[in-house]
């Protein structure tokens, strides 16, 4: 009997009239945090095929991983995850083998799932097997860390779990601390598996089977998810908030009103415009962090005329109205990615301001050199799903390019078709696009965006040196002597060829009541409620 049936049954039996409000109401909601978000999860299981981005939220709050990322304080006093620090969660400690080809995780002996079953290495093995064999998002993400095969997971004994690497890579360990590397209650899942559904996907889709810091109290698909603290949690300090209600409010204006009125204490991923305006409001605290390994850019498809000509691409990169896009599309909620010094990068960091800036004369000269002094006509495609920044940016670009004779028609493509057109078929000559990687390394970005044929290489960019050097540096530790010089070489190359003209690095903006403390920015861009407290 699930909760809803229980409520229905007890309600019918006459209990309900005496228990009209949830306990939160009776206690003045003081230990309850209400968060609002535009879109909710479509599954409680991040590994389920078709699970959407908000479905990371239950994975983060309901399940434990072997390790989690540390949290550091930034110069402005806000908190963010620390990509350099992995902390124990289900694993108390771990030791790397001397040859660097495997790692042993020693599991916490007191950890249990919600139903009281102890967490063992068998559970980790089953969960990781599931991740590499189920297909879909979890499988792809595991592969990024070099995990392709269930043979790479080994149960040494009840509390020791060994991971074998096919080849040492700096991405392997961080990739075991991401939201897809979660540990399920394997006994419970197996009991609910069927022949058609051997990994109990249909079960975990609605019934989480974990042991994390929060338990799921109820999930009304399309309306709300309610998390309640698991007081038996052993893998870290108990969360400061007892109950978290994540309510889906599609209209950004309504979310803003709720936050300003104080009926909601947290707003997940606010539009840049609201963040800018509420930043001045004493009743609301806005914390924005540049999203790591992410940039908003203009893509120029090198497989299509006239963008196959590097002079044309450079001309466009010099004609883009960077400043006004930053002010009117990003509302200043981002880091500027133009006007950098010189074509040789000073640091092996990504994203980094490109050497391009707005210079109409230079753009005209380049266009003349390319044999198109009168410009050309083209179509700028934008994703309607990201219209809040792409729409104003596109209009500004249309206006600016008219000055160098490039006549732009704006083509608005609905979100669902966008992926097919831009990423699968790669048939858009001129478009706005973004990519954000979970693992914040420049070479990881190059792996997804600049290598030949990669999914997010929407511009058909292909360069033998970039392909080769990216493969070479990807596994290297960042303190390896070959890493930084080669990453700089990659950056210099894509600045020279400029298949993508970077605009800005967007912020992830979270709005909260001033009494909410402890929010930390994470690469997954969702709310990890474990660290929150309310004064």
């Amino acid at each position: 009997m699930d909760r809803r049936q229980f409520i229905a049954a007890t309600g019918a039996a006459g209990v309900l009239p005496f228990l009209k409000a949830m306990p939160a109401g009776a206690q003045g909601r003081d230990d309850t945090l209400v968060a609002v978000t535009g879109f909710g999860p479509n599954s409680m299981d991040i590994m389920r095929v078709g699970a959407n981005r908000p479905a990371y939220q239950p994975a983060i709050n309901l399940y434990d991983r072997l390790m989690r990322y540390g949290i550091r304080e930034l110069p402005d006093g806000t908190l963010a995850y620390d990509k350099e620090v992995l902390e124990p969660e289900l694993a108390e400690s771990w030791t790397m083998a001397d040859d660097g080809m495997s790692v042993d995780f020693f599991l916490r002996r007191d950890a249990t799932f919600w139903d009281g079953t102890p967490v063992t290495a068998e559970d980790v093995k089953w969960s990781f097997d599931r991740a590499v064999l189920l297909g879909g998002f979890a499988t792809v993400q595991m592969r990024a860390g070099g995990f392709t095969d269930a043979d790479q997971w080994e149960v040494v004994d009840e509390h020791v779990f060994r991971v074998h690497f096919n080849a040492p890579s700096k991405l392997s360990m961080p990739n075991l601390a991401v939201p897809t590397a979660i540990v399920y209650n394997s006994a419970l899942c197996k009991a609910n598996a069927t022949d058609a559904d051997p990994w109990a996907s249909d079960f975990t889709h609605v019934t989480p089977a974990g042991g994390g810091a929060f338990k799921l109290e109820r999930w009304d698909s399309g309306q709300q998810s309610v998390y309640i603290r698991n007081d038996d949690w052993k893998s870290g300090p108990l969360p400061g908030v007892r109950r978290v209600i994540v309510r889906e409010v599609p209209s950004a204006a309504t979310r803003r009103a709720l936050l300003e009125r104080g009926d909601a204490q947290f707003s997940i991923d606010m539009p840049a415009k609201d963040a800018m305006e509420l930043n001045e409001n004493p009743r609301v605290k806005v914390e924005g962090h540049p999203i790591g390994c992410c940039q908003h850019h203009v893509g120029m498809n090198v497989a299509m005329a006239p963008f196959d000509n590097v002079l044309v691409r450079r001309a466009i990169a010099y004609a883009l109205p960077y400043e006004s896009i930053y002010n009117l599309a990003a509302f200043g909620r981002g880091e500027k990615l133009w006007g950098g010094e010189g074509f040789e990068p000073a640091e092996a960091v990504w994203p980094l301001p490109s050497p391009y800036y707005t210079d109409v004369e230079k753009a005209k000269a380049l266009l003349a050199e390319a044999g198109m002094p009168d410009g050309f006509e083209t179509t700028l495609s934008i994703n309607l799903g990201l219209a809040d920044w792409q729409e104003p940016a596109a209009v500004l670009i249309q206006e600016a390019l008219a000055e160098i004779g490039v006549r732009v028609t704006i083509d608005r493509i609905p979100g669902a078709n966008w992926r097919t057109a831009a990423l699968i078929e790669k048939r858009l000559p001129f478009h706005l696009e973004n990519f954000g990687g979970w693992l914040d390394y420049p070479d990881y970005y190059f792996f997804w965006v600049y290598q030949t044929g990669r999914l997010f290489n929407s511009v058909n960019y292909s360069d033998p040196m970039v392909d080769e050097v990216t493969d070479m540096v990807l596994p290297l530790e960042t303190d390896h002597p070959d890493w930084a010089p080669n990453v700089k070489k990659l950056i210099a190359k894509v600045w020279e060829d400029v298949p993508l003209a970077p605009l800005y690095q967007p912020y992830l903006d979270m709005g909260m009541a001033p009494r909410v403390e402890g929010y930390a920015y994470h690469f997954h861009r969702l709310l990890d409620a474990k660290t929150l407290t309310m004064a």
């Binding site: 229905a8 309600g11 019918a12 309900l16 009239p17 228990l19 009209k20 409000a21 949830m22 939160a24 109401g25 909601r29 209400v34 479509n42 599954s43 389920r48 095929v49 078709g50 699970a51 959407n52 981005r53 297909g135 879909g136 998002f137 499988t139 792809v140 993400q141 990024a144 889709h205 609605v206 009304d220 698909s221 399309g222 309306q223 709300q224 309610v226 209600i245 309510r247 889906e248 409010v249 599609p250 209209s251 204006a253 309504t254 009103a257 709720l258 300003e260 009125r261 009926d263 909601a264 799903g385 609905p414 979100g415 669902a416 078709n417 992926r419 097919t420 990423l423 699968i424 999914l455």
Partner: protein
């Protein structure tokens, strides 16, 4: 008489079957002609060619249209409307929870609109070109020309944000209430049935602003139609006769004039109901109302075939039902309609 009426109903239902078959076929073909590719969409953000192919196979989209159609119809007859990829739940479950939410909102909006527009229309018709008439004109023009999402946001701003008298626009119930045991799916009715008046008030309070927003939009057609048909009825011979015969003004106005003027209004109501159900989606967004409109839009954007087909089919069934209801009311109101069907 009762038997013949039953016959009419049976004939109407029978007449709807070809349209329903058409709806099933057309939505099937249309959803598959959408430019989006659900396999790409649902394979996830980081999907590569391999996992897209796996997703396609899992969704059964690698089969021919004919095969897909046959299995779709078979499952439809078995009462299985498929699973929405977007929400991961059976379409039928999704609709059975969301349709009542939309209907409750739409009917509340319609009730409000009727309550205001019909008296306003009658008043305007009895005093043409007086200030009442002009007021009627201004109100209904304003109502129809303000976009619903604007009206919605404006009301939220006024009554929730500034005045603080309206509850937070958080859907059908604030989170301090339990949803009532499911009987009709209409929260106001279900809470009343359960005798839970505290939650009833909560549900009603949530309903006021969205229903008002929706109702304002529907004032114009109802008021205009009432005014026009009342004017026609008032200048008709039978009204002049009735007046000449010395019947009271009330009797003339309500029994003779309004009784006859009501027929075209009834037809209009059927139409207004349909377009209100369509206009729902914007109101649903503003008030976080978990209705069927936002479900359908999301499904359409994601090329969620089963959900789109289920939605269109449910709407077709609903319209057949509404039209049938209007027809039946017609036969009750108008003695001329009925026997011929």
């Amino acid at each position: 008489m009762a038997a013949s009426r039953l016959g009419i109903v049976a004939r109407r239902v029978g007449g709807a079957i070809p349209s329903l078959v058409g709806v099933v076929v057309v939505t099937f073909v249309l959803t598959r002609s959408l430019p989006g590719d659900p396999a790409v969409y649902f394979a996830g953000l980081m999907a590569d060619a391999e996992s897209i192919a796996a997703t396609r196979a899992r969704l059964g989209l690698d089969r021919t249209w004919i095969e897909q159609f046959v299995s779709y119809v078979e499952r439809l007859f078995a009462g299985d409307w498929g699973v929405s990829l977007q929400t991961g739940r059976p379409v039928l479950t999704e609709l059975s929870q969301r349709l009542p939410a939309s209907l409750e909102l739409t009917l509340a909006g319609l009730l409000f609109a009727i309550g205001v527009a019909v008296p306003l229309g009658v008043l305007a018709a009895t005093r043409p070109n007086s200030w009442v008439d002009h007021l009627c004109r201004v109100v209904v023009t304003a109502g129809v020309s303000l976009p619903t999402f604007f009206t919605g946001l404006f009301l939220v701003y006024l009554f929730y944000f500034l005045a603080g008298v309206a509850p937070s626009p958080l859907g059908r119930l604030d989170f301090i209430y339990f949803s009532p045991p499911h009987v009709t799916g209409f929260y106001t009715i279900d809470t009343a049935l359960a005798g839970d008046w505290w939650t009833f008030r909560g549900a009603l309070a949530q309903l006021v602003l969205p229903a008002l927003t929706l109702g304002l939009f529907a004032l114009a057609p109802i008021a205009r139609m009432t005014r026009a048909s009342m004017l026609a009825a008032l200048s008709a011979d039978f009204v002049r006769t009735a007046t000449a015969m010395g019947l009271s003004r009330r009797k003339v106005l309500w029994t003779y004039a309004f009784g006859n003027a009501f027929l075209p209004v009834l037809t209009t109501l059927g139409m207004v109901f349909s377009f209100l159900l369509g206009a729902n989606v914007l109101v649903e967004r503003v008030f976080s109302w978990p209705g069927v409109g936002s479900f359908a839009i999301d499904a359409l954007v994601a090329s969620d075939y089963a959900a789109v087909q289920g939605f269109v089919l449910a709407m077709a069934l609903l319209f057949v039902a509404v039209n049938l209801l209007i027809d039946v009311i017609y036969t009750l109101v108008d003695p001329r309609v009925g026997l011929e069907g």
